[in-house]
Symmetry: C2
Subunit: 235 residues, 2 copies
């Protein structure tokens, strides 16, 4: 049983295959303020990213976790940096470089409001609801993937899709310039966001590897082992 083998790997491996490997993990949602009381959020719970940070640390990696607002306890032995917005997440990631590996599991807001209001936007009688103009947030995965001296040797992104999951993710990998993409279907009926299980596709330059449905913790272990094999066995 494959999962059993991974469990063995974690429980019996006394050596630390990722010892000294500097790893940056992002997790959770970002919140983009509209005004002092309102914000745009998303349904990311942070569970998958926190599980990855923990399993990478268990294999010996030196892990920095840049986390948006979540209800989760910080993983043990991990350097956790809490941020709120996408711009803050980018700044924290850039501060954490150089790193050998970057794993971008956060569900970063694609957009923020063009002009954030310093006071609460008031509802007025007999007036239309406001139209909000948005601007694109920095694309953290694409920025970390950009070739250059600070690019981590292995950059891994996530693609949360609700349709054409693998097609969208293959195109995302090429567009962003990252090495691997973990894609999943986050349609509400899957219960992925906020839930404890995940059905992932690992996409690299050689193709698509579909993983069985498993807990987010098991998926984190499978990914961490795959990373360790990649670094040590070059697979």
């Amino acid at each position: 049983e494959i999962l059993g083998a991974i469990e063995d790997y974690f429980s019996t491996s006394s050596e630390k295959p990722l010892a000294g490997i500097k790893t940056l993990v992002t997790a959770g949602p970002t919140h983009e303020a509209l005004d002092p009381v309102r914000y745009i959020a998303n349904h990311s719970s942070g569970k998958q990213g926190y599980a990855i940070a923990q399993t990478m640390q268990q294999l010996g990696a030196d892990v920095t976790l840049v986390s948006g607002p979540t209800q989760l306890s910080p993983p043990q032995g991990v350097n956790v940096i809490k941020i709120t917005s996408a711009e803050e997440m980018l700044a924290a990631c850039q501060n954490a470089l150089p790193a050998d590996i970057a794993i971008c599991a956060a569900a970063v807001a694609d957009w923020r409001i063009a002009e954030q209001s310093e006071q609460k936007i008031k509802k007025k009688n007999n007036e239309e609801a406001p139209t909000l103009n948005f601007v694109q947030n920095p694309d953290i995965l694409a920025i970390l993937s950009k070739p250059g001296p600070k690019r981590p040797g292995l950059v891994i992104g996530f693609a949360a899709e609700t349709e054409q999951v693998t097609e969208n993710a293959i195109s995302k990998r090429e567009r962003k310039g990252c090495d691997w993409i973990l894609a999943n279907d986050v349609s509400p009926e899957t219960g992925t966001f906020g839930g404890d299980e995940n059905t992932l596709f690992l996409i690299d330059k050689s193709g698509v590897d579909q993983w069985h449905k498993m807990t987010k913790d098991a998926a984190a272990k499978k990914l961490s082992k795959r990373i360790a094999d990649h670094l040590t066995l070059n697979v």
Copy 2:
């Protein structure tokens, strides 16, 4: 000491001054979906509304709490109905009528997106960020305050303001047609949203009563005693 008197009122009163009084309380934020993964939220924690539901129940009231998404445990002895959006909150409130008292402590989203996307809104390269059009949500406080056979005898609203707190709240009371407004300053520097303390102004037709800064639990007791006095002593 005023707060001491209220504590005594709660601890020594063996009778239940609000016995049989049907009370509807709303609490927490509402979340308005933009698409399957994104939503607009606000910083309401639900603490004040949950505390009010609990203290009303302690004075004997038959309490239904309609709550948006919060991290709080349900108050004991209270009928809790969990909802997500403003439209769901309105439906749950109307289901809970008739009621003698309605206390609208929820921070209901004023707007929802005009056309919610069934699929995740995709970010495209070299394209402008989307412009989102909003429509007004139903005004639950105004709807509950509307004269008619189902109007609760006492309708109490909250006004979360970041400027001109009492002026905005006095005007809100008249606009909504409710009986009392509890106004507070939720500017980020006050720490009110998510915090455990509140500085409230009670506004009724006779004027403005400023309460000292106190815990949300103490404010709930003060409000519940004030309601009991209003019903029994007509003050």
